[in-house]
């Protein structure tokens, strides 16, 4: 579904991504793991159209999307939950979720998308009338993902969804992401801590200084102690 091939990205004069290649298929949870500053967020932002690759191709369901405006990429079915949650504080939780239902016509009806978002994150249902600024950090993360889900995406990009969350919330969020994966969309999840990579991840990429240094199944990483310092100890 998503295919990133030999992508180079520059930010001003800095060469941030170097020949990045990765893939994510429907129903698959793919994790992109690397240290802070390795290029995870840049990769996701490039797929999302915030950054234009200098070289390489990005295709979604076989159609090139590199260079398209962000809103067009979203309308084609790419949901994005950025690291900083991106909740609109001026809107209520219900409005935040509703917002994503009209920009991508076709597919499931809006009511079904909203119901599905609340089903995955039941905690948000009780907070539907609250403003975005009145949410805890965990709730904001949930809302950010729920809203991306309300877009009815075929591919979901999650940027460090566990970052800064209380350990008590992380299992809930992990279960929610598993439930989303079960619904069919492919998920590309960027994470700096290997211990946060869900067990059900089907594929793993390790990124270091803008280059993919490992691609394979998560269990294959155990045979690569040289990557321990990149993805965290205790492999």
């Amino acid at each position: 579904m998503l295919r990133v091939h030999d992508v180079d990205v520059f930010i001003q004069a800095s060469h941030i991504l170097r020949k990045i290649s990765l893939e994510a298929a429907a129903g698959e949870l793919v994790c992109l793991v690397g240290r802070n500053g390795a290029g995870k967020t840049t990769t996701l932002r490039t797929v999302m159209g915030y950054l234009r690759p200098a070289a390489g191709t990005i295709t979604l369901a076989g159609m090139p999307i590199a260079g398209l405006p962000t809103h067009t990429i979203a309308a084609r079915g790419v949901g994005y939950a950025p690291e900083e949650s991106a909740v609109f504080g001026d809107l209520t939780v219900a409005e935040n979720i509703e917002l994503a239902t009209w920009t991508r016509p076709g597919g499931r009806p809006a009511a079904e998308r909203i119901a599905r978002a609340y089903e995955i994150f039941p905690r948000l249902r009780g907070a539907a009338a609250r403003g975005g600024t009145q949410l805890s950090g965990g709730e904001r993360k949930m809302l950010s993902i729920a809203r991306a889900l309300a877009l009815d995406p075929t591919l979901l990009l999650l940027d460090e969804p566990f970052e800064g969350l209380s350990p008590a919330i992380i299992p809930q969020l992990t279960e929610a992401i598993a439930a989303i994966a079960g619904l069919g969309p492919g998920i590309l999840l960027a994470e700096s801590n290997i211990h946060h990579v869900p067990r059900y991840a089907t594929r793993l990429y390790v990124i270091e200084r803008g280059e993919i240094v490992f691609a394979g199944r998560p269990d294959e990483l155990r045979g690569r102690p040289d990557l321990a310092r990149i993805v965290g100890a205790g492999l």
Binding site: A86, L91, L99, T103
Partner: protein
């Protein structure tokens, strides 16, 4: 609750005012209705979308001159047709201007809109043969709902049928705007105001939405402009002058731009306040400047914000 009760009382007072036999006050409110309609549009642009126009008077003038041209030169006397034509002309003019302006935000957007407003002012001022130059163009009394009402003198026409017509247009405009603000489009505008880049990631075409808000604001501005020029019977270049745009921003701040009815309240209070202060002192601009400073410093949410704060304190 308090705000709703006050709103109902104010609404009833507006409906009953012509019956109270105070024609001066009644005619005084007519421009407030026109401004209120224009401000509902301007607030979609500023309050909802976060784009502050310093040239919105351009569209008020466009509405005014459309009314003048249609009634005076083309013999179109139906106010419904005039309003429709003004809305269409404003939309047509707003699209190319908006396409340029919405590429920018903040002060750049404000300055560009100011520049277009002044360009239009210069056009109205200099193209004498077409626009009447500094003398402007006469606006003939239009028919209301197909009724010529020629048996009424001007005061009776303005304080009777036209008053209710203008009030009706304001109510319809408010209902349409209410619907628009609460729609997914309105939600999108608010998300754009908060963070345009994040809004894009939800599939919201930021420029397209900003342009749509600009065009809607222009249409409301032109409709307000028509309502403004009928009572005076004149469309003159000062309608497009930058101080007029400044007054619109003042009214918006006075009423409160983060409340739906703030623009309506701002227009009403501005007109009444202007009349009172002008009758007291010739330094009324000085007084208005001081009032604006006090609002910005102490009541940034305007009069509606003050009412909201009282409501919150009461509850």
């Amino acid at each position: 609750m308090i705000v709703r009760a006050l709103g109902l009382i104010a609404g009833a007072a507006l409906v009953l005012l012509p019956l109270a036999g105070v024609p001066y006050t009644t005619t005084l409110l007519l421009p407030a209705f026109g401004y209120a309609v224009a401000l509902l549009g301007l607030n979609l642009l500023f309050g909802s979308t976060g784009l502050l126009s310093f040239g919105h008077a351009l569209f008020i003038a466009l509405g005014g001159y459309t009314a003048a041209a249609l009634t005076g030169r083309f013999g179109v006397r139906s106010l419904e047709l005039v309003l429709l034509a003004a809305a269409l002309v404003a939309a047509l003019v707003a699209v190319p201007i908006g396409l340029l302006c919405v590429r920018y935000v903040k002060i750049y957007f404000g300055m560009l809109t100011l520049a277009f407003g002044m360009l239009f002012y210069s056009f109205l001022y200099k193209f004498y043969a077409l626009t009447g130059g500094d003398e402007g163009m006469r606006v003939l009394r239009p028919m209301l709902l197909g009724r010529p009402l020629e048996h009424l003198d001007t005061v009776a026409y303005l304080t009777g049928p036209f008053y209710y017509y203008a009030l009706g247009v304001l109510v319809v405009a408010a209902l349409v705007m209410r619907r628009l603000v609460g729609s997914p489009f309105g939600l999108s505008l608010r998300s754009i105001r908060e963070n345009a880049a994040k809004a894009e990631s939800l599939g919201i075409g930021v420029r397209r939405c900003r342009l749509a808000a600009f065009v809607v604001a222009a249409v409301f501005g032109a409709i307000g402009g028509v309502l403004l020029v009928v009572p005076t019977g004149l469309a003159d270049p000062l309608l497009a002058y930058w101080t007029h745009s400044g007054n619109l921003v003042f009214m918006l701040l006075l009423g409160g731009f983060d409340h739906f009815l703030g623009p309506v309240l701002g227009a009403l209070v501005f007109i009444l306040l202007q009349d009172s202060v002008m009758s007291l002192t010739s330094y009324w601009r000085f007084v208005f400047g001081a009032i604006l400073a006090v609002i910005v410093i102490f009541f940034p949410r305007g009069l509606m914000g003050l009412l909201d704060a009282r409501r919150a304190a009461a509850s």
